[in-house]
Subunit: 151 residues, 2 copies
């Protein structure tokens, strides 16, 4: 009984902390993006495209939970921004896929570097021991979450 009570507190704390840290990182991420020629939805789409390889507009829209017309508008803006290009499939000419251009890869790398500079400014104030304990715990948590996903 005592165990389940402790667990509930731990769950509440971890849930709240991960949500708070996630929100601050998201907000700060958007502030960082304002220094670059890319909007938050364009950045989210770019990250998904680079993580998943070549996708169609429909597949990108599905992963972003966007209506078809919204996804098409977003891709139009990304194409004008020089981040991606539409490419016809060599085997099936009806299928159009999105290819990330050099400027897109470079933009992602620069934004990630800026994010790391921000995180470094914060983490330098934490002791090495505490940072290591956080890394151990987060590694374990991410492994357990990944296992739980498969099962």
């Amino acid at each position: 009984m005592v165990t389940s009570q402790i667990s509930r507190e731990i769950v509440e704390d971890v849930e709240r902390l991960l949500r708070t840290v996630g929100q601050i990182i998201k907000k700060r991420g958007r502030e960082i993006l304002s220094d670059f020629e890319i909007t938050p939805p364009q950045f989210d789409a770019l990250l998904i495209l680079i993580q998943n390889g070549v996708l169609t507009i429909g597949e990108l829209g599905e992963k972003m939970y966007l209506a078809c017309s919204t996804a098409t508008d977003l891709v139009d803006r990304m194409e004008r921004n020089g981040l991606v290009m539409r490419e016809r499939d060599a085997l099936d000419r009806r299928v159009i896929r999105l290819r990330v251009l050099d400027r897109g890869h470079q933009m992602l790398a620069e934004v990630m570097a800026a994010r790391k500079r921000y995180l470094a400014e914060v983490l330098v104030k934490v002791s090495p021991e505490e940072n290591r304990a956080m890394i151990v715990a987060l590694t374990h948590l991410s492994e357990l979450m990944a296992q739980e996903e498969v099962s």
Copy 2:
């Protein structure tokens, strides 16, 4: 010099872990939402409305980085879903604000409870010591991030 090298590794690890954990939570969060009568964009909007109190459609759209027409469509769907209602400002009848209805508050509470049940299933496999170390580190991290935001 050695210190800055260690820091870089720590930064890389923490950045990657927070991103991985965040993505798994987001993905699982969307799977959880599929059991409820609410879509991910509607849930994001509901969370923002409840965290910020009463907002106009324009303010909600700004916080979600949505075009005006997209925000209006989203609010239409939320209104049909019984989550929010449009309300005219008592002093300035031209201003329309969004009020979260009981069904919206109840939906948020149920989804959050389901999220906590999921997190509990994972955290029960972590030792109390490790969970406590993670809570200490995440608390410190969120405090430092909040301070850094103000400064």
